[in-house]
Symmetry: C2
């Protein structure tokens, strides 16, 4: 690859920014110090950014700062924010993609505003009607892509088919050697189960299933989300959001109870000394920071949303995700997947 991978970062979005975002950039640069194929465009207040860069002693060689004067607040609604967004770090960050300055955008700012602004600036891919929010989920064998996680409350069969194509393109960009297995999330595995929309989607995905694109794996139930048998799990934004949040809540419930049990008495506290490294590894595997970064798919350019409350390490993982997606040629993969669809629908 001759051209550098250029990541546009909204340095001002999220809690404790730009300190947190810049510290995350620092971790990324340190971890990629022998790597010459990337560049980072930082959008935000130049003085504050430089202060953090100096604080963390970050090598500025691959960084360019693009000064912006305002920031979108977390309380703002998309409607009011759009009116006043033109000078913000978020707007300019995404705009740099259509100006050809960046390949991908990353922000930890206001989700609603980010989705609306991204769509306004980048526009939908021709033939795709709804964008989806995708994320990586840990599973028994590694990780899978799950979408939509909340961008669209209601979806029809054509949206679910688009999500299958977009999600498998994302999976291929991250794991280039694998043929993604796509499953539809449902309440049973038989073809007759589920909503009318799922029943209409099933035969169409079966028809589209092929070695180049994705292998359609049928329906799965919620308990199969993490068994590692599916690489891409497709659902509407309402169901996906409920599943994601329920998994988060369950994980918290279990680990809170485990923690309580293991610090309950002297014996269990002693046990912690012996299990320290094993439990650390266990905790590390489940660390939500490792899966930080939801990818907004279906636009003419990828946008990644970092959790607003994550720390520098979590933000680093979302920068790393941006880097990998572009290195894996996400937009080309999407183009290839969508070209494969019915020409009448996908052609201009």
């Amino acid at each position: 690859m001759n051209k550098k991978i250029t990541i546009a970062i909204d340095a001002m979005g999220g809690d404790n920014s730009p300190e947190k975002t810049i510290e995350g950039v620092g971790i990324f640069i340190k971890n990629n110090k022998n790597n010459k194929d990337f560049k980072i465009n930082l959008f935000g207040n130049i003085d504050e950014i430089n202060k953090s860069i100096n604080k963390f002693g970050i090598d500025k060689k691959n960084i360019e700062i693009k000064h912006t004067i305002s920031v979108i607040s977390d309380d703002e609604t998309p409607l009011t924010a759009i009116k006043n967004s033109k000078n913000t770090s978020m707007w300019n960050c995404i705009k740099s993609q259509i100006d050809g300055e960046s390949d991908i955008s990353l922000s930890a700012g206001n989700t609603g505003v980010l989705l609306v602004i991204s769509r306004m600036i980048l526009k939908m891919i021709n033939g795709v009607t709804k964008p989806a929010l995708a994320a990586l989920w840990p599973n028994q064998k590694g990780m899978s892509v799950v979408l939509d996680l909340g961008a669209n409350i209601e979806c029809d069969e054509s949206n679910l088919i688009d999500f299958s194509e977009l999600g498998s393109a994302l999976y291929k960009s991250l794991f280039p050697k694998e043929k993604p297995k796509v499953s539809l999330l449902n309440v049973g595995s038989e073809e007759i189960k589920g909503t009318e929309i799922l029943k209409k989607t099933f035969p169409k995905l079966k028809e589209l299933s092929n070695e180049n694109n994705f292998i359609f794996n049928g329906y799965i139930e919620g308990n199969e989300l993490m068994n590692g048998e599916s690489n891409v799990i497709v659902t509407d934004g309402f169901t996906g959001n409920i599943a994601l949040k329920t998994a988060e809540g369950t994980a918290k419930f279990i680990t809170d109870n485990l923690k309580k049990s293991l610090t309950k008495n002297l014996f269990s506290k002693i046990s912690l000394i012996f299990s320290y490294f094993s439990l650390k590894q266990f905790k590390s595997k489940l660390d939500p920071r490792k899966y930080n970064g939801a990818i907004f798919l279906g636009l003419n350019g990828p946008v990644v949303k970092s959790h607003g409350g994550t720390d520098a390490l979590g933000f680093y993982y979302s920068i790393d995700l941006c880097y990998k997606i572009i290195k894996g040629r996400l937009m080309d993969q999407i183009k290839e997947n969508l070209n494969h669809l019915d020409g009448s629908k996908k052609s201009k």
Copy 2:
């Protein structure tokens, strides 16, 4: 209470039955040996049942065996099963409720057939159009009732309102001293969030919210299912099923990983000696057998479905659930809750 609580049990349904179901009955009788307010009607093959009763040395004082000649298999579809169901243990078990012989039915057999037969025999409560499947979920403060978990793929606002009334009646029957807090499962907590059906349900539940019936708590997200702030969580059967299965899958994923970590090396194995009792307590709290038993609500009599694959202890917990529900006057609580609704809808 003068009349005995009479529990009708389909002794033949589920894996390893009747041995498993009868062993479960044995545990129940042993745990309630000083208790004279119950009777158990066992439906199934009298010889097989007696064999298991003798095997486990169960006191037969409060047991009556009702001999039936056939069993509904797990592979049968509701349609074929209904034709041949008249002589089965399941059919006769539920029928004993309209014959006035039993207060509640329990089966670990084929779910689809159980739901259809229950509805055929018991009929819907006047004014309720769809029955719901409810279950108990563990949470940080105890347990909550969640419904619908899969009986109805699509629900409208009047169904969700009925589920709120039915679910809070169930909660009151189990925890008579508490005023149930009812929440709607959604993808955000603001009133404007979610599907059109949820937006229509919200103001109606707000209107119905009162001290006698239930307190409407607004919307909650999936991550709040287990925080203990809601006693009754209402959703449609598709979403509820996805949430339930996702929670199961997540719990399995985490505990599998924990087990792997804690048996990985010598040090972590030593730690297990010290943490044995604490971890046992932790495991016990999360034991799915404790929450075994989904309650089918909205019919003129309660029916409980035990997990088919559970063991004798799991089956015992579902018998105990039946006993508690009837002791807590579930059907009266439902009547009171539904009377409270708009007369034009609920009157005959």
